[in-house]
Structures are given as structure tokens and as C-alpha cells.
Amino acid sequence: MNAQGYLRPDGRKGIRDVLIVAYLVECAHHAARRIVDLADDPQVHLVGFPGCYPNDYARRMMKALVAHPNVGGVILVSLGCESFDREGGAAHAATHGRPVETIVIQQVGGTRAAIEQGRAAVKRVQAQMAANRVRVPLALSDLVVGTICGGSDGTSGITANPAVGRAFDRLVDAGATCIFEETGEMIGCEGPMAHRAASPSVADAIVASITKAETYYRTMGFGSFAPGNAEGGLSSQEEKSAGAYVKSGSRPIVGVIKPPERPTIPGLYLMDVVPDGEPRFGFPNISDNAEIVEMIASGAHLTLFTTGRGSVVGSAIAPVIKITGNPETWQRLGEDMDINAGAIFDGSATLDSIGEQIVDMIQAVAGGAETKSEAMGHREFILTYKTFEPSGPGCFPR
């Protein structure tokens, strides 16, 4: 692999050098967005948490993100009276060697002053990032790759998802770390998944995570199943699950992690995204980007996004490679799609050839090539309230 990454002071390597501007409550969102807009730099990204009330999950997620290997610098934008621990967040970024500045709107004198100070802070942090920059060669074994499906239809489980599974097998064999997720979209697959667990304790953790997901979604009233899934030919949660599950490929599942826990050794991990305890804050993940952000927080450098109906999203912080399994979607939304796994239908491609194409693209993107969503300016980000207990030691590889 011929790619240069960014070496961070904590020893991790990134594939981008992003400055994140984070609002710490919705009331600071506008000022933060203006700071990003005025920076007019594709490597300055807006992230944030809208809630005023404290949430341990959101706090830990934000800490993981300010120290993400793709992030080189941080600006926190606070209104001033919200509960978010801005000092803790800034200290965490600094501990991990990231230049960080905090702007408190109520202290600097309002919106206009905060935006002006933010513009100046962007220049200072960018200068510090340039001074800190250390490029190093990247290997596939340095990478953490997540996968998600969105806008699934009857083609996803036949073309794009198994092709990602082939890519995941190649990545795991090369020593990379891979994460697949949405336990609510694995309901019905717990038996075969547990058989792939690397240890009995991981098998137990897999079954427990799916049981929890089924209970949680039942309380919500319906599964992780959108109207578009049905319009695309999927008829039940378990049909969608079977198609989604094949993204994981065939290698052993070495651990089960919850966001933002990080994999401890390379290999394939299931991410348990369903909150612990009684349902408290609504749906586990209200849209695809909530899941992408969780994989990023757990260390994903980039995400493989399979879609049938045609999602157009990207993400802040980490590139998204979009793979459609539907040849009609490739025709209609090709501008937004990186890879056409729908070519498998007419015999012009195979699962293995698309799997290889995906791995080739991962290497190119890790080396700096833009994905379609990056080029189009997509920088979606969403972080909401959740509750998690820490994973027990049995969830991780021994």
C-alpha cells in the first residue's frame, strides 16, 4: 500500500488532517457553523452535541472524537451555561497532543465576537497543525474500517453487502481492524454469528447484544425497517438482517464493542449500538450518520456504506465510500456512488472483483483520494443522548 498517513503524538495514524469545530450545545451551533463556513476549507469540519443536559455517552463520544487519528486540531464553541464539560474536552485533546482552543460565547460578548474570535482561532490552530504535521507510511494493518448499510433494498443482500464481506475478509487477513454494526439489524442472525465468535464469552456477548436489541426495538414498536426498505422489496426485519449480516464476511468475530470503546487488537468486531437499560432516549440510532459517528468514535478511519435505494451521505472526520448494489440506483445516482456492485447482476463483475475494487479504493482513499461524498461537500454529523454500561472483559479478545 502506497499511502502516507498523519502520525499523532499518541502513536496513532490518521488518513486525514481535519480541524474540527465542535459546538457543545445547540445554542452554540450557529456561531460554530459560521466559523466553519468562513474558514472555507474542506478540512475544517463542523461537529457537535445539541443537548443542554449532561450525558455520559455524549461526553465520552466527544472525547474520543477530539483525539481521533484523523483529527489534527480542535476548536470548542460553548454558549457558556450548558452542562457539557468543555474544560475536560479541551484537556483531553491537549493530552493527546492536539492544538485546541475554546470560545465561550457568553464570555467573549456574543455571536459576532465569537465568530470573529473563531476565525482567528482557526488560523492559529491550522498553523499549529502545519507545524505538528508528521507524515508516515500507512499499511492496511494500520486501518480501522467500519461498515454500515442504509437505504437497503432487495439487491443489498445479494450484491453490495456480500462484496463488502469479501473486502472485510481481505482486510482482516491483512491485519486490519474491521467493525460491523447495528445489532437491531442482526435480529435473527444471532445463531450463525455466535458460531463465528473467537471465544465462548464473545459468543455469549453476541447473543446478549441481539436479545437486548430485540427487546429494545419491540418496546419502540417496530424494528429498524424504513418504508424504503419495503418499497425496495424487503418484507421483514429478519430478511433485512440476513442481507445486512453478510457485510461482516466470514472471519472469526474477536470481540463485541460499544461506542466509543476501541478494538484492542486487529480483527473483526461487532458493534453493539443499542443502549443498555430501560429505553430512555428513544430509538437507538435515529439515522445512518448516528451509526457512522459511533464507528468513527471507536476509531474507524473510514466507512464502507452499502446502499440499494441510494443514500447520498458522507461524514465529518472520516471519509465514506458508497457502494450501491442496485444497477438502477447506479444509473440514477451514479454521481453520489463510488462503486457499482450492481454490475454483479449482469455478469460484468463478481463478488470477488467488487471486493477487490473496494480494497483498492480503501487504499486510494487512505492515501488522500477524495470519495464522491467528500468531493460533493458532504460532512454529516449527528450525536444524541444514549446510555451504555461499559463492556465486560469477556467482550474483548483475550
Binding site: 433494498d153 432487495g154 419495503a230 421483514s236 430478511e239
Partner: protein, 97 residues
């Protein structure tokens, strides 16, 4: 031109359309001829044989739910005649009232 349907597993009692299949179209599945009862879109499922209410719907060699109505071979299998054995789903008309 893409083949009309794909049989994903030998045990399956449904096939998946690889393109839009027209009403009355004859389709050969492992040497058995079925006739599409109606126009069915890419990604949707056709019954490979006659199915009865209560039958498991088998795709990928695994159950993806149960039939709620009888259907002839070549019929469209979807949420109007099958349901999840796990958890309910919602449709757009249910959302928009």
C-alpha cells in the same frame, strides 16, 4: 440483459428479481417454469412454488418470516401476504396516516 431472477439457495421457496419482471413472463428456475402473476420490481420476490398461509418463507436458505395468505407459484411475495416472525415493520402510509 440480466437474468430475470436469482435463486439464492437451493432450499429457497422464493426467487429475487434481478430486473423488473413483467406480468405473464415465463421464468425458468432450475428447470421449472413459473409465470409471473403481475409486474414485479428489481429486488422483490416471486414464489417459486405454491405457498400456504403459515408456511415459512425461505430465502438465503433461512426463514425470513411466515406467509399470511395462500399464493400460487409466480406470485409476488411481500408484506401483503407475509410477515416477520420477530418484530413488526412500518410502511409510509402508516406513517403519514
Amino acid at each position: 440483459m440480466a437474468p430475470a431472477v436469482i435463486l439464492l439457495h437451493g432450499d429457497d421457496n422464493v426467487v429475487v428479481c434481478c430486473r423488473t419482471v413483467e406480468a405473464g413472463e415465463h421464468i425458468s428456475v432450475e428447470g421449472v417454469d413459473i409465470v409471473a402473476a403481475q409486474r414485479v420490481a428489481l429486488g422483490h420476490k416471486l414464489a417459486r412454488r405454491d405457498l400456504s398461509a403459515g408456511d415459512k418463507v425461505i430465502k438465503y436458505g433461512a426463514s425470513i418470516g411466515s406467509m399470511t395468505a395462500d399464493i400460487k407459484a409466480g406470485g409476488w411475495v411481500h408484506m401483503h401476504n407475509m410477515k416477520s416472525d420477530y418484530i413488526g415493520a412500518h410502511l409510509r402510509d402508516a406513517v403519514t396516516g
